[in-house]
């Protein structure tokens, strides 16, 4: 502190003190505000029971139901002894977790915050409404990591799955997949006028991406063009790239390009169309 006032102001004076508003430093919310917002978002997510259980429970159920099938214990040739469970079911499960949180849950929160005027309300505080979106994204990632930890725990401990042959690649692909799914989710949040329509649009996007990406069975049964499209859209691309990381083979280029392009295109479109109120 360099400018400490040593003489008290004349109590009878109505003259303004030397510090006018221009001398004020704009107090941007600090780390405390970020922490408080993140905790608040975590509470919101934790208290939304359906939104908490479905992304954690449904992928786990699909993992276990598939994992109990003996057909999946067959070793896939050229994967260093990895089974179909390793190179297909586990990547599918992880992708499901990412997609459910990113494409269904997150946009429904964002649309609710906008509809209820919460973004508007935050806009008149020193916190920006963008901060609440940031905090929501952080909490979503935490939820994704929790879902992935749960799924991998069950897969490794109970179903006898193997860890990925290239863990670094697997982690990198997960980051890319999260970015792509979040971008799609933000696009859903940007175009959905109401919280209800955000859930509906999110589910449509989720099932469309999932169907083309092999959620309901192998893409081999799809017409060739659709199968190729599915491998480039984020769901199929994430499954393919994670499968490659598990098998230790080179990740398919169309999948990586697809994830990157989705992130950029959906992200830019979401930013262009997003409405704060």
């Amino acid at each position: 502190m360099t400018t400490v006032r040593t003489t008290p102001p004349d109590p009878g004076s109505l003259e303004p003190g030397p510090a006018g508003p221009t001398a004020m430093t704009p107090a941007r919310p600090g780390p405390g505000a970020w922490l408080a917002l993140t905790v608040a978002e975590a509470r919101m997510v934790a208290r939304d029971t359906a939104g908490l259980v479905v992304p954690l429970g449904m992928p786990l159920l699909i993992l276990v139901m598939n994992g109990l099938s003996p057909a999946l214990d067959q070793v896939v040739p050229g994967t260093g002894g990895r089974t179909a469970l390793d190179v297909y079911v586990v990547p599918l499960t992880l992708t499901l977790v990412v997609a459910m949180v990113g494409v269904v849950n997150m946009p429904s929160f964002v649309a609710y915050y906008r509809r209820a005027g919460i973004l508007r309300r935050l806009g008149v505080t020193p916190a920006s409404p963008a901060m609440v979106l940031g905090a929501q994204a952080v909490v979503g990632v935490a939820q994704i990591l929790l879902g992935i930890a749960l799924a991998l725990g069950v897969a490794f401990a109970w179903l006898g799955a193997s860890p990925p042959a290239s863990p670094g690649v697997a982690a990198g692909v997960l980051v890319l997949a999260i970015a792509a799914m979040y971008a799609v989710g933000m696009l859903v949040a940007a175009v959905a006028p109401t919280p209800g329509s955000a859930v509906a649009l999110g589910l449509v996007a989720f099932f469309a991406l999932g169907a083309l990406g092999g959620m309901f069975g192998s893409r081999d049964q799809l017409p060739e063009a659709l199968a190729a499209l599915g491998g480039r859209l984020p769901f199929g691309a994430a499954v393919d790239a994670l499968g490659a990381a598990w098998a230790g083979v080179e990740a398919p280029v169309p999948a990586l390009v697809g994830l990157t392009v989705t992130t950029v295109v959906a992200g830019v479109a979401a930013a262009a169309w997003f409405r704060w109120e």
């Binding site: 109590p11 109505l14 221009t22 704009p26 405390g32 509470r43 309300r121 008149v124 916190a127």
Partner: protein, 350 residues
């Protein structure tokens, strides 16, 4: 006249029970206008093509000095909330300008946000968070501010502090929203429909809170459609109608400007009563409806002569003439009457 130091002392004492830390680091606004809107115009585009835009505000000017409690009155759709949004920097005016404590709310967003508390109408909050969690969350946005727990008590939500926002009654939610507008210890507060949805008791407790803010030297802009609220709390009132300022002044000035004067009503069967009363000094006219008479006071004299006490004049005259009258009552015009007179008939608008 209350000096700034006195204000500061009472600030710590009254409202917030000593929770206003670090007030001294906030800028002094004495001698400066706290809230200003000058010749503001705002139009909204209509959804249908080809329709002209809707004019929400047209040449609206508003000034609130530091420490004043000012009111904005108007019917639904008069432009009250648009005025709030322009001052809060949520929207930009098409023409004219606004200043909050000398700052441009859009150009100086960050600074304005730290000194201006806003209660927005129809803005909800994180529904699954409890009262205390919400107040603490909003407190974290400000470097200095009030103690969240004491503030929750002060707005009368102590018993529901651990209840989720979505499970509160409308009136309780309203009080949370008021608490959040105050939690950053703002120098100026805009309260949009402060007491909407509150029961009479809670309404009175909110009015007491505004009185405390005044004692603290906080500038308050109270947007309302409740005459009683504005008449009771505000130093001056701006009446908006259809996006224009119809009148501005103290309640008494507005009543005066509307040409409204006190009346005495009474019941008398005496046939001579009308002529007797109409001849009295200070009486403008007497209207008779059967046995019911309404005596209207004459305009206040321009000279410094003391105003005539109408009730006493009428009572004394009746007694002197031996006229029997019952149900004699004085009725002073209220801001409500002034509002109707000023907005209801455009010809009378200044």
């Amino acid at each position: 006249m209350r000096g700034p130091e006195e204000c500061r002392k009472s600030r710590v004492r009254v409202v917030t029970g000593g929770t206003r830390a670090a007030t001294a680091t906030l800028p002094s606004v004495v001698g400066m206008t706290a809230l200003v809107a000058q010749h503001v115009r705002k139009t909204y585009r209509t959804r249908r093509r080809g329709r002209p835009p809707v004019v929400a505000l047209d040449d609206v000017s508003l000034t609130v000095a530091p420490g004043e409690v000012a009111g904005v009155l108007g019917r639904n759709g008069a432009g009250k909330s648009t005025t709030v949004e322009l001052l809060a920097g949520v929207r930009a005016p098409d023409a004219g300008w606004v200043r909050v404590l000398g700052l441009d709310p859009r150009g100086d967003r960050a600074r304005v946000r730290t000194v201006l508390g806003v209660q927005l109408q129809a803005a909800s909050l994180h529904g699954a968070l409890t009262v205390r969690e919400l107040v603490r969350l909003y407190r974290s946005f400000y470097r200095t501010g009030l103690d969240p727990d004491r503030l929750v008590e002060r707005v009368g939500l102590g018993a529901s502090r651990d209840t989720r926002f979505e499970r509160l009654s409308g009136g309780q939610q309203q009080r949370v929203s008021v608490a959040l507008a105050l939690v950053g210890a703002p120098r100026a507060v805009i309260l949009d429909e402060l007491t909407t949805g509150l029961d009479p008791e809670a309404r009175r407790s909110m009015w007491a809170l505004v009185e405390d803010l005044r004692a603290d030297g906080v500038t308050v802009l109270l947007v309302s459609h409740l005459m009683e609220e504005v008449e009771r709390l505000c130093d001056h009132v701006t009446i908006l109608d259809a996006g224009r300022v119809v009148a501005r002044g103290t309640s008494a000035e507005l009543i005066d400007r509307a040409g409204l004067r006190p009346t005495v009503t009474l019941r008398s069967d005496d046939p001579g009563a009308v002529d007797l009363l109409a001849a009295l000094p200070g009486v403008e006219r007497v209207d008779a409806a059967g046995s019911r008479l309404t005596v209207t006071a004459a305009p206040a004299p321009v000279t410094s002569a003391p105003p005539v006490d109408l009730l006493q004049t009428v009572g004394a005259a009746l007694a002197a003439a031996g006229v029997v009258a019952t149900e004699t009552r004085l009725r002073r015009p209220t801001l409500d009457d002034a509002f109707l007179a000023l907005t209801g008939s455009p010809l009378e608008a200044p």
